[in-house]
Each structure stands twice: as C-alpha cells, then as structure tokens.
Amino acid sequence: MNVENYLMYGVMPIICLALFFIMMRFFKGPQIVDRVVALDLLITIGVGFIALFSLITDNPVFLDVAMILALIAFLSTVAFSYYISKIKKK
C-alpha cells in the first residue's frame, strides 16, 4: 500500500468527518462563544489539513500557509473575545 494513497483514502475522510461535526456545532451553537470556539478549532484543523495535503502532493511550500493560518487563528480568537466583552458590558 502506498503512503499517498493511504493518506488520501484513509486519513483524509476522518478529518473531513471531524470538520463536518465542527460545522454542525458552528451552525447550532446556542451562544456566540460556542461559535467562536468552533471557528478556532476549524482553523486549527485547517492547519492539519494543509500539512496532510503537503504530504500527499510532496510539496513543502504549503507549510508556509499553515504557519500563517496558525497565527490568524490565535489573533481571531483574541479579537473575538475582546469584542464580546465590549458589547456585553453595555
């Protein structure tokens, strides 16, 4: 069995299933904080998705994108928490 084939048909579906569950939570989430956590996890799993994709296509350039995405996930969570604390204070 080839590594690329195994990653494409064995590991990628598991991650897609995980993304599906998180999207369900993202649409369902009763409060805004639930949605923020779901979004943070979505972006973090996007990093893993990109790493797997760079493994499959044998191209390490994609890891740069993963790095930037990891940065943006942290920034967006901090910004959202600041925003929520501001609007709920009024």
Partner: protein
C-alpha cells in the same frame, strides 16, 4: 520503516482530531466543550506535523513544522483561557450537574472587598467635608 511510522503518526493525529470534533459536538455545556477541544486538537496537529517533518527530512521544512507546533502549544491555551474568561464574565451558565465553581466564590469575595473600600472612602469624604 519510515513510511510505516508516517502512516501511524497520521492515523493517530486524525483520530485525536476526530475525538476533539466529537467532543465539541456532544458535550453538554460550553466549558466542557472548551476543555475537550484545546487538548485534543493540539496533540492531533502535532502528530500530523511531526509526520510531515519525517517525510520531507529537510532542515528548512523540519524547522517550519516545529515552529508551527511550538506556536500552537503556546497560543491555544492562552486563547482558550481568554474565551473562557469572557464567557464567564458575560454570564454563560454552567452545566446543571457540575459540582464546583471556584470563580464565583472569588468574585463574591472581591465584590465584598470593593464595597467595603467604597464605604471607607465615602466615610473619609464626609468627615473631610465636616471638618471644613
């Protein structure tokens, strides 16, 4: 040998991610959801990135992968702490079966202290005005 190791690490990482997603879907309240996601996602992404660094076995790629891992391990607890704090401050309810709420006790004590402080300040002010 190397390929088998890569397969095992990727499968492990994907399973951790699946556990995290299932946790965020099924857990009953916000705080338990938060606690599940941070741990499992960090571990899963770490496994997959270590597999990537093993596959390429190039110095620049390995450095990049480990930088991402270090960054995730540093920042995701901070982000989780921040969003949990904001959620508590804005009045997100705990699960009805949770048995402990230490922050509530802390906040009550702090508000009591502030009240006493305000009282003392007011008293000092009135005494000042009387003396004048």
């Amino acid at each position: 040998m190397n390929e088998i190791l890569i397969m095992i690490l990727c499968t492990l990482g994907a399973l951790f991610i699946l556990i995290a997603s299932f946790g965020i879907y099924k857990m009953p309240d916000f705080y338990t959801r938060l606690s599940v996601t941070i741990k499992a996602a960090t571990l899963g992404i770490g496994c997959i990135l270590i597999a990537a660094s093993m596959h390429f076995s190039d110095f620049s790629v390995t450095t990049k992968a480990f930088a991402i891992i270090l960054f995730l391990i540093l920042t995701s607890p901070v982000a989780g702490f921040l969003i949990g704090r904001v959620a508590y401050r804005t009045g997100t309810r705990l699960w009805k079966f949770s048995i402990m709420d230490e922050l509530k006790k802390d906040q009550v004590e702090r508000s009591e202290k502030e009240r006493l402080k305000k009282k003392a300040l007011k008293k000092a002010k009135t005494e000042d005005s009387e003396n004048q």
